[in-house]
């Protein structure tokens, strides 16, 4: 794996008495697109704000481009862009004024990309941000985020509440930006279908911790839903490598594993006199199994 662009190690962050991050770890390889997934209140936004240097962690280490983001100097700041979930502030400002505010701050501002995006989304620069449609407002935010040509682009729910067509157009913008292997994108999203299209890595967090991080292809190749059928009532539990969720029926056990080993599953089945079938599963099903009510991690955290 190539060098890390972002590294979190044992990061803790509390707001008052409420812990948001409880020993969060993350490694983002340079040149990757990482999808950061988790349910509401899992700590995604806090993790991204820490990454951008907007929050100071209570404990643990954060490295972004090799440095602590809380001590970034101006040249480092120019290499990282963060787009908040709430989008661009100054909703009363005209688009042109926002560009005039941002562009001079960055040495490699891409004016051609800026004009292309304004045209693509039909945005007149003399309009005020709040006069634009939601999709256009998000596009302005993304335009301000990609035109600096950052090495690291941090996007917090960039496509929330948008229709599928606009989401796809925004995704394509991000895809055009990368692809040279030099730029890294980390994006949090509830839109698992979007993440599946663009991300090559996924990190799934729950209750302030990382449950799992893997290349998406590897995750799909190694995850399975296993159905064990028994002649009588099934046992309480099974010992399987990479077991993340277990559901018990009258005559069967449904197990989801992220480290599928055919011979291990077969010998577990044989030991219980059971029959086992394995089926692949997509990211959404895996996510639900991991952090839903049958997820083992959810039960431990509760």
């Amino acid at each position: 794996m190539s060098e890390a662009c972002v590294l979190f190690s044992g990061v803790q962050k509390k707001f008052g008495e409420t812990p948001a991050l409880r020993g969060f770890d993350l490694e983002v390889p340079k040149g990757s697109i990482v999808g950061l997934l988790g349910r509401n209140a899992a700590g995604k936004s806090t993790a991204l704000r820490c990454m951008a240097g907007l929050e100071r962690p209570d404990a643990g280490t954060i490295r972004v481009l090799g440095r602590d983001p809380n001590s970034f100097d101006v040249p480092l700041r120019q290499r990282v862009v963060y787009l908040a979930e709430t989008g661009v502030p100054f909703s009363g400002a005209r688009v042109r004024a926002l560009i005039e505010l941002c562009a001079p701050l960055y040495p490699h501002w891409d004016f051609a990309l800026q004009d292309r995006m304004l045209a693509q989304f039909g945005i007149a620069p003399d309009r005020k941000l709040k006069e634009l449609s939601l999709g256009q407002q998000r596009a302005v935010g993304l335009m301000l985020a990609v035109c600096p040509q950052p090495e690291l682009l941090i996007l917090d729910e960039p496509a929330a509440n948008l229709d599928a067509v606009v989401r796809r157009e925004l995704l394509e913008t991000v895809l055009r930006l990368i692809g040279d292997g030099e730029r890294t994108v980390i994006v949090s999203s509830h839109m698992l279908g979007d993440v599946e299209r663009v991300a090559d890595h996924v990190a799934i967090m729950h209750a302030g911790r990382r449950l799992l991080q893997a290349p998406l292809d590897e995750l799909k190749e190694r995850s399975r839903r296993l159905r064990f059928s028994f002649a009588a009532a099934p046992p309480e539990t099974l010992v399987l490598p990479g077991l993340v969720s277990l559901r018990r029926g009258a005559r069967e056990l449904l197990a989801t594993v992220v480290d599928y080993d055919e011979s291990a599953a077969a010998s577990v089945a044989a030991a219980h006199g059971a029959h086992v079938e394995a089926a692949p599963l997509g990211l959404e099903e895996l996510f639900i199994d991991l952090v839903g009510e049958h997820g083992l991690a959810t039960r431990r955290a509760a």
Partner: protein, 138 residues
């Protein structure tokens, strides 16, 4: 080049691309010497990560189906039809799985016809759809 991609499938997207390029080659829709779209173009067309396209291409290249011509891009190899059509023989994993299937079926007292039928029904359930459904005119 248009490839229907199901990103939410349990089958990794790079494997879907590989499989479809193979099928297009076997069906004659991608003749030998044909140039493939660049990684970036195909990624944007399909709305997927360029690394995924790159991975599919490099796996196809390793499998002897396409080749990189320096400065020109990726091309379908002359021998691609034979390789993609599996005329080089059954992959070893598939042969081993077939042997296990035959042994299990025989133990269960099934006949060869019954076993082949069960494979066919599984294929209809979870296997890739035949190319004829994608494009009827050939």
């Amino acid at each position: 080049m248009f490839l229907p991609i199901d990103a939410s499938s349990g089958l990794p997207v790079y494997r879907q691309i590989m499989e479809q390029v193979r099928r297009m080659i076997v069906a004659g829709r991608l003749p030998a010497g044909e140039k493939l779209p660049s990684v970036r173009d195909l990624a944007v067309t399909l709305g997927i990560n360029p690394l995924t396209v790159g991975k599919a291409y490099s796996e196809l290249e390793r499998g002897g189906i396409i080749e990189m011509r320096r400065g020109l891009g990726m091309f379908v190899r002359e021998s691609a039809v034979d390789v993609a059509g599996g005329r080089g023989g059954t992959p070893s994993g598939v042969a081993a799985a077939a042997r296990r299937l035959v042994l299990e079926a025989a133990q269960a007292g099934m006949t060869m016809t019954q076993t082949v039928r069960s494979v066919e029904s599984e294929w209809r359930e979870v296997g890739p759809r035949p190319a004829s459904l994608e494009r009827k005119q050939r």
